[in-house]
Symmetry: C2
Amino acid sequence: MEKQLTELKTLLAEVVDLQRSASVLAWEQQTYMPPGGGAARAEQLATLEGLAHRLFVTDEIGALLAELHPAADGWDYDSDDASLVRFISRKYGRERHIPSELVAEIARTTALAQEAWVRARQAADYPMFKPHLQKVLALRRQQAECLAPYEHIYDPLLDEYEPEMKTAEVRAMFAAIKDELIELVHDISARADAVSDEMLHGDFDIELQRAFGLQVAQKFGYDLERGRQDEAPHPFCTSFSSDDVRITTRFNGSFLPSALFGTLHEAGHALYEQGVAPDLARSGLDTGISLGVHESQSRLWENLVGRSRPFWQHFFPQLQAAFPGALGAVDVEAFYRAINRSKPSLIRVEADEVTYDLHIIIRFELELDLLTGALQLDELPAAWNDKYERYLGVRPENDAEGVLQDIHWSTGAIGYFATYSIGNLISVQLLNSAREALPNLDADIAAGEFGALLGWLRENIHCHGSKFTPRELVQRVTGGEMDSRPYMRYLREKYSDIYAL
Amino acid sequence: MEKQLTELKTLLAEVVDLQRSASVLAWEQQTYMPPGGGAARAEQLATLEGLAHRLFVTDEIGALLAELHPAADGWDYDSDDASLVRFISRKYGRERHIPSELVAEIARTTALAQEAWVRARQAADYPMFKPHLQKVLALRRQQAECLAPYEHIYDPLLDEYEPEMKTAEVRAMFAAIKDELIELVHDISARADAVSDEMLHGDFDIELQRAFGLQVAQKFGYDLERGRQDEAPHPFCTSFSSDDVRITTRFNGSFLPSALFGTLHEAGHALYEQGVAPDLARSGLDTGISLGVHESQSRLWENLVGRSRPFWQHFFPQLQAAFPGALGAVDVEAFYRAINRSKPSLIRVEADEVTYDLHIIIRFELELDLLTGALQLDELPAAWNDKYERYLGVRPENDAEGVLQDIHWSTGAIGYFATYSIGNLISVQLLNSAREALPNLDADIAAGEFGALLGWLRENIHCHGSKFTPRELVQRVTGGEMDSRPYMRYLREKYSDIYAL
């Protein structure tokens, strides 16, 4: 099977190169592209994505997989080659049902929709964006239908981001945490005065913010010889290879946490991608397995590390030195409480840990209704605002702080938001396992030392790339299933302490 | 033939998208890519360029052209469709002889060679770069051999940049100007004290340089809604579509002309690309026809406009306002003379108009000898330095200011330099024609008004993209052939005036 394997890898390398090239173009669209470039960029992305798909779903690759798949059953399950054949066979089985023209059309439409979203968000004008969203939604629905039969039309879309996860499982997960979260929000709101974040609002020089955030990201282990940070309207991380992993950030000169925790979050994603084993390069396994697992990494570094007491024991003096006016007279405990202040708010990416998943639940519910047709696009902004009022007790005053705040739908990412909550849940399970293996973890963090933690994540998660399914990965690391209880326990304990509940 | 034409255009659009995507990746490599990204980027570029080639030289496109080419003889010669069939048939006839694997290998090798060149130039270490240059040279020679028979092995390489131009013609062109240039250099050196450029050396804030250069570029007509400027180790212009044309610049904080004229030069290239007719988008005709014609545009704006007296009558007060310390007490005539000071020097991109072509002749002669094997790579730095001493009377002290100064060979651009001199010659012919059509040209320039000149260039050159060969274009505009006499007359007159020869 050596020959077939080599042939398969050669063909896949070309597909991966095309996909990575598309990622460069998409990154560039968000960071530097001038406004006029949008139309041509959309065509270029359509060609790259369409061609990558066309060169993947060939009969030739199908025939190689048909030979390799039975053979691979006899190989070491954990080996790169067996994993490759498993992973690619599953992907091929899925992608083969989707016409390449549809893939190209989605790439074209979403590239244009992203440009429209930027303008519409600036103008807080949902009707400006709606026709684009309409096209995107119709195309994504069409794509889901290619993958029928399914229990729920959301299933095949979710599967793209979170392999093997079902809508019913997400529903169960949210059912398990929703009431408890709302209760916790309620308990905290009764003690709202216990925490102030006044010192986080002020005038924070953007260059100093950038330097501090990047310094911490590097301390985590983000290698700037193999990555860089740029500004974009929506923060994200993207990988052009494990040796070239980019993060973007947006800065807010008057609110310190936005860029700071945004940077730590994206650095967490970047650590995952930089940690993929070099042997997997250009194989198709050379990226994180799912967005849920990805988010477990970003949230682990952003929240479990970056919003912890030991972390700020080490870093607060440096932050004070950068911003002596705003923080010079603040003590570290007050700062720790401030950055963990929980208060229902409008913007997901700036939400605290307690309210965060409610933002996700809102989006998940709206997506289900949009896909089934229970909700029309005309009704979307009102439905969005109503849910915010119902779950969080706040109501957006305009669409920029409401339905237009996230880039995702413009990029075609319908079926994606749920993975953020999956990531939250997994992050706590993983850190609990790490803590068992690394008894000095808190002391390390308090000393600004992250090598042992990163090493553990590299070995147990990052290096595997896409070799194992999320379920397999969680099983290997925790010995069990994905479970929301450790996460809820973490939240309850942390916030009981902060708010003396 | 409507059906065949539509099919051809659809196939070509995909090829163009791949090439433009490769341009985005190449631009990004020069501007933002972190050091670690080089290896993967080389593979991605190899895949994009190789695939673009493979999808171009198909039997399918060959069959379409075989049907369309005879039919197109009956169409209006100047029409977009007739021009497309002409241009693409010629290109197909050439590219069909070259294996796509070789194209991919050249892309891979040159992407890595560029990274090596950046490091080698920084370290002024030619031996560090030599193994890369060796590979590049071997591959380019191999590519030329695919296109045998030829009169000279340089012919097929030159043809890639300057369609239909022959080595013998370039030799004749240089023979016609070389002695006269050396004589002019000699005459000027006898009067060297007549001009000082002392005020151009000093401390020039880079942000102010950037703002001034971009302001002038915009005055020329460079549209920043459809373009942008970034920094790169070697200034260049690249087009991702006529609505997205990028320029790069490198800044020198202690010598004002470098970035200033570099910006005007690249803006000249950008105006050409931004002016290509929108109807030609994604056809393969949607870029400048040749590097010689391209250089005629950059040199026209940089030198014929940007180093002219009327131009600085308008702009000098603004430049003085930006740099009052260095220029406040300087009069415009002294400044005009300073920026036109002619003095043999080491760096091509900073050379004055008189010595410039001698830099090119040196490179052209060295390339011929490298290609024929008359010169070995071990001998190259010494040969370079000897020629500088012989033609210009200066000798590089290290390879960074010698053989490593230009990025070109690392990108595979062997056969390219001659087009710079071709551009110089044509630029004067074109401006003379423009002057006949625009009797108020000098007054316009002195008023900072460039609309009429740009309009004339748009109509006569830019909008055509690659519809006409360089020869046809010069014929259409000037009624004659490419001719070095107007260029030499221009130089002689300008410099006789400045140096009172």
